[in-house]
Symmetry: D5
Subunit: 111 residues, 10 copies
Amino acid sequence: MAIANPSPDRAYEVRCETPELTCVCPVTGQPDFATVRIRYVPDASIVELKSLKLYLWSYRDQGVYHEAVTNQILDDLVDALGPRSMTVVTDWLVRGGIHTVVEASHPVPPG
Amino acid sequence: MAIANPSPDRAYEVRCETPELTCVCPVTGQPDFATVRIRYVPDASIVELKSLKLYLWSYRDQGVYHEAVTNQILDDLVDALGPRSMTVVTDWLVRGGIHTVVEASHPVPPG
Amino acid sequence: MAIANPSPDRAYEVRCETPELTCVCPVTGQPDFATVRIRYVPDASIVELKSLKLYLWSYRDQGVYHEAVTNQILDDLVDALGPRSMTVVTDWLVRGGIHTVVEASHPVPPG
Amino acid sequence: MAIANPSPDRAYEVRCETPELTCVCPVTGQPDFATVRIRYVPDASIVELKSLKLYLWSYRDQGVYHEAVTNQILDDLVDALGPRSMTVVTDWLVRGGIHTVVEASHPVPPG
Amino acid sequence: MAIANPSPDRAYEVRCETPELTCVCPVTGQPDFATVRIRYVPDASIVELKSLKLYLWSYRDQGVYHEAVTNQILDDLVDALGPRSMTVVTDWLVRGGIHTVVEASHPVPPG
Amino acid sequence: MAIANPSPDRAYEVRCETPELTCVCPVTGQPDFATVRIRYVPDASIVELKSLKLYLWSYRDQGVYHEAVTNQILDDLVDALGPRSMTVVTDWLVRGGIHTVVEASHPVPPG
Amino acid sequence: MAIANPSPDRAYEVRCETPELTCVCPVTGQPDFATVRIRYVPDASIVELKSLKLYLWSYRDQGVYHEAVTNQILDDLVDALGPRSMTVVTDWLVRGGIHTVVEASHPVPPG
Amino acid sequence: MAIANPSPDRAYEVRCETPELTCVCPVTGQPDFATVRIRYVPDASIVELKSLKLYLWSYRDQGVYHEAVTNQILDDLVDALGPRSMTVVTDWLVRGGIHTVVEASHPVPPG
Amino acid sequence: MAIANPSPDRAYEVRCETPELTCVCPVTGQPDFATVRIRYVPDASIVELKSLKLYLWSYRDQGVYHEAVTNQILDDLVDALGPRSMTVVTDWLVRGGIHTVVEASHPVPPG
Amino acid sequence: MAIANPSPDRAYEVRCETPELTCVCPVTGQPDFATVRIRYVPDASIVELKSLKLYLWSYRDQGVYHEAVTNQILDDLVDALGPRSMTVVTDWLVRGGIHTVVEASHPVPPG
């Protein structure tokens, strides 16, 4: 998923957003849908968009909780890119009248 | 109302919002309506959406002031989830030409 | 619910809208929420806002389908006001990922 | 309130809007607030904005129903300007959770 | 998918919208996403929301063109509900920089 | 202001809009500001944008009423371009709390 | 204007907003209109909405500058409620082409 | 650019929109940018999105007037697809303070 | 331009905004248009709106760069009002496809 | 690209934005489109808008990654203007369902 950062000496930010994440509710088995927002300060690598898309696509048949999938995406992208810092936000379509957003960062911001 | 946090080691944020809170004005007896916004950093537990919905539903016939119901929801959710931190916002439909919002946090943020 | 129309000789339009309709799902028993939009051309009577509010309030504990409550409101207001024409629209909060709107008119507009 | 139309031979439209209408509820005695929208096709006269403003100001202490004030403004402006056609819309701030709009035209459009 | 229309004698309109349609591109095999808007004038039957949701869910693994899936949904709902009239609109997320919307009606409106 | 229409055989529409019209109030001498919207179906000629801009610029020091300048722009553009049809709309910044829009067409649309 | 705070031990925020403030320009004598936004952290008392409404109503015939009325509302509410902190914002309809907002806080925030 | 229409017997509408049209001003030689909106009722063929994209890309180095490119796109798509009807709209970024939109249809709608 | 501050003992903020600034480009001689936003914490004086309007009007025939006029307005208002602090923002209509905003403050905020 | 700063003694901010950046994807060879936002605190020089436009135009036929072009624009503008500080943001049209934004600053803000 990683390609070489063309400006590794400067700490700058990249933000990616896609409304095309879908997975399956582990309790009811029915589809869930989310917009994913990723922002990170790259170190040696930047994300390659096509493989990011394929990676997100891999959740299509998985049964996962909102909180778990958010942390999993963050863990996988941190492993793949080794960023100086990264935040992943998932913003889910309404279930049971409730709209849910989950936001996780690495490293955890102070306080 | 609580289920186990799948990533208890990382401080991350969950935000839930529903426009479906209704209770009764303790003075006039007529219905009041609010959108509720909850954001929290979970510790050992995350909120289960179905029981959160049922909990909010329980206010339907209660006569309560805007400020009281907001603090009550915060107290109940802090008791049930034991979060690292939590904020509850209620945003009420216009009464007497006035739009009211109440926001309470635990622990109280420094001033 | 009716008071005398101060300008009965002119065909003019009145539009009322409130986000404060709630009833109960006849299948699941859980609360439903809708915005109601009423527009009508009065004849001898116009609607009195306080009794309109009380009338809509009366649905709070009723178990009714979206389509049924919309037609019922139209029937009741047509009975009470005898308007030259009237349209009732109900716009419901999301259930099962689906946002539903129902619109009924009296007399039925030519198709 | 009228000044000579500079292009009396062409049927063209003028639209004026102001959020500054206030009057008093004839039942409760408390202030009401509305945005007024006027659109008309002038004949010999166009409205002079300063006197229109003073005219609307004259409602500040009057106790009138929404429907009555709308028809009264239409009647007065039709008398003053003799337009080919005119529509007056009043859009009122929420009372009792209900947002009301009244629209009247001269001559009444075919229906 | 059909339940009895509670007001079969009046021609009124129902509008349903969900952002949760997903299928697969028949050329590239990658997921596509759409919002579906259905509006219809029921005759003897109205749509049951839960089975509508399950029906739309059935496209999740199908490889279909935008135009084909839109006409298929229209055909299936017309078969199931026998409406006086129906329109189906699908509004697709961007592919190749192009945002596509398809709208089909039964019976075809006069042109 | 006119250049040759590259597709004179087809009736198609051109819409131009600029927020850069300013003139002077003929009563108070103070500046007025408007957005101008022009839409027309060209015949032999289309408008050249640079000369349109210079033409609108020529109002900068003129003292004119809203209604007069709108009809004047329409007359001048109809003279210069000989369109199949044209509409000019001017949308003025608030004066005395009133927002005014003037719309004139050639030929006058049937009423 | 004050009622007892149901949660006096927690520092939480209440925000009220109404578009219904009107007073009179002390120079020209003509009406002015503003939206008022109040946010405060209550101590022993919270504001009672009906008396807040009556209080704001009392400005209807007063001739006051924008800056003076804003500071006066803040002073009066601080006197009545004794809040831990309070901010009053008034947002005025356009006069002379200029939109004005005034914001005052007690105690004055540092720097 | 054409593929077979999967529902050739029904008159339905397809709408495509892309903000990615760029060409060159034939007078100044500098780049121009537009959003293109195409809507059509297909007959035997529907447009294939990838070749539509390549077709629009072909304007990148052409020097063309706004009106000419709009009519050319309409002519080319009508030739390629033989639709029952088609409309092409181009919406151009501001030049000289003026925002321009061109809309052409085949066959020309009755006036 | 200054009148006495009615609450000189409290540091509070005033914000004024008008879309009615126009001057002339010193290079091309053509008109430029901007919205001006002024926010300040008054000391002994507040700005009088009518003279502020006249002051901004004085730029109508001046040829000035965006950056120069912004700093000039700030200098003149600081001279006239002696505020505790002041920021002037000018937001200019598009020129050459570029939208420009200039923001200057006195005293310069720490960086 | 630089002209003399008319107020070199004050640290103030200039913000420029244009939706007219286009380059070519170095992998697929197809056009990419972005909005560019530049904000800087000038020192001795400010940017001249016409040459900024020509500079951005120079990317039209270059094959560059999103991250590389953003850092290149920042480097070139810092070289040309020697600002006290500068941030460049590029906001790209959707590719592969993903919307990307890149933001780089000089000097790098403390993290």
